[in-house]
Symmetry: C2
Subunit: 625 residues, 2 copies
């Protein structure tokens, strides 16, 4: 952090919200090229070091060369042959090649098999001919594609010997290496302004008879021989590894975004005062209001829960991919289910949470001075990219239905699915103590019941004469409920296990246990129907939980600021007038206002051009802007 | 609409998302001055005509002279004396005076009594001296204050004869009428960029010993005589009328925003295809997926529900203010409770709903081409301004507790509170038919139970030795639940009554009845805990409702597009590539992309400045932007 925050280079730019989009792009590009150079100079090679250096150097800025590092190079490494790696990686390292990953099309997102771009092999010239045959087949959204990159990895339907061989990846040069002009047959550009991501030139790309050599297909797994013979990969799913890694990263990104929003809103809530509690008395810190605690503290707990989930996800990814590389594919379905589920669950919970944090800051939360709108527009696309969340949850549901089938057949279940075999007639063990194991059991009970209910719904539809596909489609809402309940149970259990099993100072453990309980109890109270529709809890237990929830809020209050300080985000990263460590919120807001670009002139030109004439009854009608 | 959309003046501007903030402000100012002139020329004097003309002329643009029309002039009309009206209104009409309403301070929002700005009467010169004594007392957020207005109505604590007489309104000139420069003692400016509202120069204002004549205090109700004697208003609450009107308007604004988002997302869902339903088959329209219907159709129903609520609110406002003007203040507490409650309930539901609509459009929903992000950033501040929603709900709760007290004392209750006297031991009448009256009864039962539970919580705390204030503060979460449940019941009942009692074609009535049922059933299923924790519904009834919900989705599907077409928003108002009436979504997206300002040059300057040198190992380090 300090290497970046103390470097004068990064301090000379005005805040992003004061820049036009074109400036945002240009400044961010400049910063990231500098970061790229500096990481080499400083010998920062570990991803974690690079990550923290970059976060402090260009916080909340989406790099114009980000996809090059995160997707382009790793995909060559993973899916390229040895010759391809030798040929491309040095060029990519030196930025002669700047690339991205072009998968999404205008008409096709999460359903990859529906992609329309074609790559047709021509054995006479030993080339592939790439085409965007329809308007919907145009590549649309790939990051950094519009103006920055000169190469991209294009996902396309491979045709050879008159047959469609499914989607494969092709290296396509799109711009001239000297002039940066688009090559023949290439139409490429920026897709225009978006909710956020101003620094990212998400692009469109139309290909018209673009010829590339046979050697430009990534051929580590599947191949097209010179004569056009297609050679299948040993395992069709092996190529999806990098998508899983990105999904794992989204869990952590979501956790970090919510954590930052919690830092800002909780610190500000300790500074802000509103409404005298007793007539004539001092106005209270808003963090002391139960309603404010009820909105913020469960989110604080969620940010911790998601951190732990992100860490688990990454470890599980490393462990499983090592197994896969070793030829053992047993854990692959679980890896997919967990990564899809946690990606969707975390991005939903954290996006909504960030926006609640923003609203908890009242009017000032709406100003970019708070830093909160930016965190929201950065985190919320995680609900959509790398697999739309609803589709992800249905993939989880499909896995759960398979597991349910195994359970019915008496087959063994993976560890984290064993809760499904619980006796659904058993009632909750919850007492006044509100023990952690009773909380976990409640979540597992709910998930198991919802899985059974979804399966029952499908069975019923099949019995009534529907096809299996129709039965599935007629049960997707219930399947989604089951998948969400499963993820919720998974995250809760992980939080509990982390708190119970990690070695830490006993006071920290006690505080963290309260936070963990809050996470679990709040989740039950807010989703009560699912826990009581089968009378798992009785009325008395419901009252115990509601009362405990209010007690936990009060219990956490003295530690709330410490809990967010513990994330250790420096002011330079938060970029928030409200979330400052020193609490000097109002002076910072005033300084922010004074530096607004709109205040550069005391009287704007528009006053002379429009207001004054209007006051004199003259309306300027067709002046050009 | 046509008067505006066919006027070439409005067609010459580029889309707002392609403009810098300074351009957005300038173009919007130009448009609204033109609208102001045109409305006079076209003799559009009715508010409803002006509203629709303006909506079509400058859709989704927040006027730099909006507060002048909506707050400044009406406040003079309502709270000024006859002399003040004669003096100021002609100047305001001709825009010689351009004003705004300056209430919110940097450190003080919803809690008006906490405002710190002072107006101290000096009987020697017969002037008020206005001051911002602290940094937190600075006016901050008032719309159009930063650069546009030359006057404002300042809310300040009145001091005379050594006494604080509470908050009052003062007319303060802030800029010179000829040069537009700030006057002596005035520091004024724009507060800087925000989540949205780029065209609005929300401002800050610091006052240092600014002297204004005694006649500049709005004196229709309270007065300060020449010698400094303070004369109280006949009724302290009478001045809040304009705030109630604005809250009523927020309900309709929220409904319109959600309606527009539904138009866009439902039309797009009928165009967009994703995932083959059976292997090799055509990809399905996403509107045919149950999960998509489950997210969108209840929002469609909500937009209708909120429309009806907005219409009710406005009628009730007119009726009640007429009574108040006639000296009958009986309905005032109800007017306040209903306006506060519906304002909060509608802005919460509709804001979240708009964002869900956006997410239902997948990746394209994130582009400004969809029009959806703009609708969100325009609607969501309604949760905060004119009374922060949580505070509003606690005001509703305070009213509910008073009503509960009346009930306990056997006193008469206003019509819309009579449900509170229901027997809470009675179970639901719900059958397979899912009758409307059973649905209404369920909502009323839940609200009545939650009101009783909140009251019981307070009683318990008092019995345990807490003060009434502490008991209130210790129950605010439960009080908020009760207030939300009350609003939910109110809106549901109003929807049912509208559908049952309005005269309409029987097919329309049948379709609208399904939509109304969906609203009610979905609300129960999504908030199930509150309806079953006292066993109001039994397990069988819960299953009936869940099943009915899925049936209703299928039932509404054929009418979904007609339901949004019925809102009759022209493309010019929607400004959305996805929500086009003709369904030509993809061509529109392509055109949008091509016109992106980032594509004006094929190769950006930043390529030569930063990328090329970096490729050659040279990093430009300190170039200035």
């Amino acid at each position: 952090y300090n290497l970046a925050t103390k470097d004068p280079f990064f301090r000379k730019f005005k805040p992003w919200a004061f820049q036009t989009r074109e400036e945002q792009y240009e400044i961010c590009l400049q910063k990231h090229l500098y970061i790229n150079k500096k990481c080499k100079e400083l010998n920062l090679t570990e991803p974690v070091d690079k990550f923290f250096y970059t976060e402090a150097a260009a916080p909340h800025e989406n790099s114009p060369i980000g996809l090059h590092t995160v997707m382009f190079i790793p995909t060559i490494e993973k899916q390229g042959t040895e010759e391809q790696k030798k040929r491309w990686l040095p060029l990519a390292e030196s930025l002669k090649m700047i690339g991205t990953y072009a998968q999404t099309e205008m008409g096709h997102g999460t359903f990859i098999r529906g992609l329309e771009t074609t790559a047709t092999y021509d054995p006479r010239t030993r080339e592939f001919i790439l085409n965007s045959p329809t308007i919907t087949s145009m590549k649309y959204w790939p990051g950094n594609l519009g103006k920055t990159t000169n190469h991209c990895l294009v996902m396309a339907q491979l045709y050879t010997q008159g047959k469609n061989c499914g989607i494969h990846m092709f290296m396509v040069q799109i711009r001239d290496l000297e002039t940066h002009m688009p090559l023949a047959g290439i139409e490429v550009g920026d897709i225009g302004p978006k909710f956020g991501y101003g620094t990212n030139d998400n692009g469109f790309l139309r290909l018209s008879n673009v010829r590339i050599p046979r050697e430009n297909m990534l051929m580590r797994y599947s191949k097209v021989l010179e004569d056009g013979t297609y050679v299948k990969p040993p395992n069709a799913k092996i190529a999806y590894g990098s998508m899983v890694l990105v999904r794992a990263a989204i869990v952590t990104d979501a956790a970090r975004a919510l954590a930052q929003a919690c830092v800002i809103s909780i610190r500000y809530s300790a500074v802000r005062r509103q409404t005298e509690v007793s007539p004539g008395g001092e106005e209270a810190q808003i963090i002391d209001y139960q309603t404010q605690q009820y909105r913020l503290f469960p989110l604080l707990a969620t940010s911790y829960a998601m951190y732990f989930a992100g860490r688990f996800m990454y470890d599980f990814y490393l462990k499983t991919t090592a197994e896969i590389e070793g030829g053992n594919l047993d854990s692959m379905p679980q890896l997919h289910a967990i990564s899809a589920g946690l990606k969707a669950f975390s991005s939903w919970m954290c996006s909504a949470g960030v926006e609640t944090c923003r609203l908890c800051c009242g009017g000032h939360g709406y100003s970019h001075a708070s830093g909160l709108p930016k965190i929201y527009i950065d985190v919320v696309p995680g609900c959509t990219y790398e697999g739309e969340n609803n589709v992800m949850m249905l993939q989880v549901a499909r896995f759960l239905m398979k597991m349910y089938g195994k359970l019915q057949n008496g087959e063994a279940l993976p560890t984290f699915m064993q809760y499904m075999s619980t006796d659904l007639n058993k009632k909750s063990c919850m007492t006044e103590e509100v023990a952690l194991n009773c909380l976990v059991m409640a979540y597992e009970h709910r998930a198991a019941r919802m899985i059974r209910d979804a399966a029952a719904s499908m069975e019923k539809l099949v019995q009534s004469g529907k096809s299996p596909v129709e039965a599935w489609n007629g049960s997707t809402v219930m399947l989604t409920w089951a998948a969400i309940a499963h993820c919720h149970a998974f995250v809760t259990k992980l939080f509990v296990e982390t708190v119970v099993k990690s070695r830490m100072d006993s006071k920290v453990q006690s505080a963290l246990t309260s936070l963990c309980k809050l996470y679990a109890v709040h989740g039950i109270v807010e989703n009560l129907g699912g826990f009581i529709q089968d009378q798992f809890f009785d009325s008395k237990q419901v009252k115990i939980l509601q009362k405990k929830l209010m007690q936990l809020l009060a219990e956490i209050r003295p530690n709330a600021v410490a809990f967010v300080d513990a994330f250790d985000y420096p002011d330079e990263v938060l970029q928030s007038c409200l979330g400052r460590y020193d609490g000097q919120v109002y002076q910072a807001l005033y300084d922010y206002a004074k530096s607004s670009p709109m205040n550069e002139k005391e009287v704007l030109d528009s006053y002379y051009k429009y207001i004054k004439p209007a006051q004199n009854g003259k309306y300027q009608q067709y002046s050009k802007l």
